[in-house]
């Protein structure tokens, strides 16, 4: 088989002949030596040198340990403080791994929520069907891992009510989400069942605007902002751990607050 690295167009042989003296003057030994000192220089400046793999692995292990400590600290019955409507930020703060101009609005009429995993009734859901379930309104603080925060008013169906409705196995470990913006996310079952964890459809009493997750997003009062996926398209109840968008890049999975 032809090597995929071989160029499709072979260079003119005359070129090689013209440059022969130069090519002959290149010594492999010199190249290696030069490369080594360049590497040593990079080490010296500390620039562009990645954290060694062994340290990285140790840090990730520590992060996994911290996930289990956080699960222990998490009190499934403790409610996050709520605030008066006068404190609600309108519109909310936009944040994603891309700019707000790059948001691709989802067509609510064509949208369907898909279900998979340890769920008894896996039929798709329309937005009207979700709206017909019991609704809850809460004014809670959003805290981003970067350090900023704001107070927002979210309405929708509590995830625990939705999970009960579809016959989800609530002894499973994880509830995973897929989204229209390719931002997979995953939370622990205890947080999924927390009374303030919503499948939100409204912000400040109005239908969710496109940049904030229309038609359906997750809103949990007990996790950092990046654990609240927007534009949800699929929910899976499972014992299989699937790291989310930021977790794959080194952020912690539990991210409880």
């Amino acid at each position: 088989m032809r090597s995929p690295f071989r160029p499709h167009k072979v260079p003119n042989a005359k070129l090689l002949d013209d440059q022969r003296p130069l090519i002959q003057s290149l010594e492999r030994r010199k190249l290696i030596r030069g490369g080594l000192s360049l590497g040593a220089l990079a080490m010296l400046t500390g620039c562009g040198v990645k954290t060694p793999a062994s340290i990285e692995a140790g840090l990730r292990k520590m992060s996994a340990f911290n996930d289990s400590v956080q699960a222990l600290i998490f009190d499934p019955n403790k409610l996050a403080p709520t605030y008066p409507a006068s404190m609600v930020l309108k519109p909310p703060k936009f944040n994603a791994y891309y700019d707000v101009e790059d948001v691709k609005p989802v067509d609510g009429a064509a949208w369907r929520l898909e279900l998979s995993g340890r769920i008894a009734n896996k039929a798709n859901w329309t937005i009207a069907q979700i709206d017909s379930l019991p609704q809850q309104d809460e004014i809670i603080r959003h805290i981003c891992v970067e350090g900023w925060d704001y107070i927002g008013e979210w309405s929708g169906v509590p995830l625990r009510i939705f999970l009960a409705h579809i016959g989800a196995d609530t002894r499973a470990k994880y509830v995973n989400f897929l989204t229209a913006d390719n931002y997979p996310s995953s939370i622990d079952m205890a947080t999924a069942l927390h009374p303030q964890t919503l499948l939100a459809t409204k912000y400040a009493g109005e239908t969710l605007p496109a940049p904030f997750g229309y038609p359906l997003r997750l809103r949990t009062s007990t996790k950092l902002g990046y654990k609240n996926p927007k534009w949800i398209t699929a929910i899976e109840v499972t014992n299989t751990y699937r790291p989310g968008y930021w977790e794959k890049q080194g952020f912690g999975w539990f991210a409880g607050i």
Partner: protein
């Protein structure tokens, strides 16, 4: 060979014998010296067992674990801070930050916190139980403070007796210990603002806790600058934190001998 050679041979033989005798005497002396050195070191080991060092071994271990943990926490904290600054325009340069970006800095911070907190707790318990805090850091008298500041301004930095801290030293150590405790408490508040929201309320909200955490860092970095500068100016203090420093008699806190 002539007859004249004989006396010469004799003297050579005598010289050789003298040489051997000298060598043997020197060897005997060396052996004696070695024995006396061993005896002396046994004595000093006994003395060490009887009297405590200024900085006992557990304290020295805790000091250096803390030093490393603090540097990890400060530099990784700078990496986290840069994502959303408190003072607009104040960024910490990449060369000073631990971690290539926020995710890595967070990994370092959340790993380092265990070393800082557990080591710090051990230090507080040690200081309280052994009475070290009471003996070394208290009392801090205002008159002593003024006197020390006055002397320092006149470039009289007295450090003849390492075992006695002056009032400014005492105050600085107390301030940095309180700042360290505050960092752990505000750190917990920022880490778990819902689970521990009583802590967040203590600092006037999430951003308040963040601000106090930031100010605590400034206090500690300020302390670190003075602490390192002084230890380099008076190197015997730095040596003492490695070797243990002068011995202290068991009963009194007087210096027994400088080693």
């Amino acid at each position: 060979m002539s007859n004249d050679d004989v006396p010469e041979k004799k003297t050579r033989l005598q010289a050789f014998r003298a040489h051997i005798e000298n060598a043997m005497a020197a060897a005997a002396q060396a052996v004696a010296r070695w024995f006396s050195a061993v005896a002396k070191s046994v004595d000093s080991t006994r003395a060490m067992a009887a009297g405590k060092r200024l900085h006992p071994l557990p304290l020295r271990i805790m000091h250096w674990v803390n030093a490393l943990a603090m540097i990890v926490m400060i530099t990784s904290g700078w990496g986290i801070y840069d994502d959303y600054v408190i003072i607009s325009g104040l960024h910490f340069p990449k060369a000073l930050r631990l971690g290539d970006w926020a995710a890595e800095s967070l990994l370092w911070h959340f790993a380092g916190m265990w070393f800082l907190a557990i080591n710090g707790l051990a230090y507080l318990l040690y200081g309280a139980i052994t009475g070290r805090f009471r003996k070394k850091l208290l009392p801090i008298k205002l008159s002593d403070l003024i006197k020390t500041v006055n002397e320092t301004l006149h470039f009289k930095i007295a450090h003849d007796d390492l075992t006695q801290y002056n009032a400014v030293q005492k105050l600085l150590y107390v301030v940095v210990i309180v700042a360290g405790i505050s960092q752990v408490v505000t750190g917990l508040a920022i880490w778990k603002p819902i689970q521990f929201y009583f802590l967040v309320d203590l600092f006037g909200g999430f951003q308040g806790a963040r601000l106090v955490h930031f100010l605590g860092m400034i206090v500690i970095v300020g302390f670190l600058a003075v602490h390192v500068a002084l230890s380099l100016l008076v190197p015997s203090t730095l040596r003492a934190m490695i070797t243990g420093g002068p011995k202290i008699a068991r009963s009194a806190s007087r210096v027994e001998a400088e080693t």
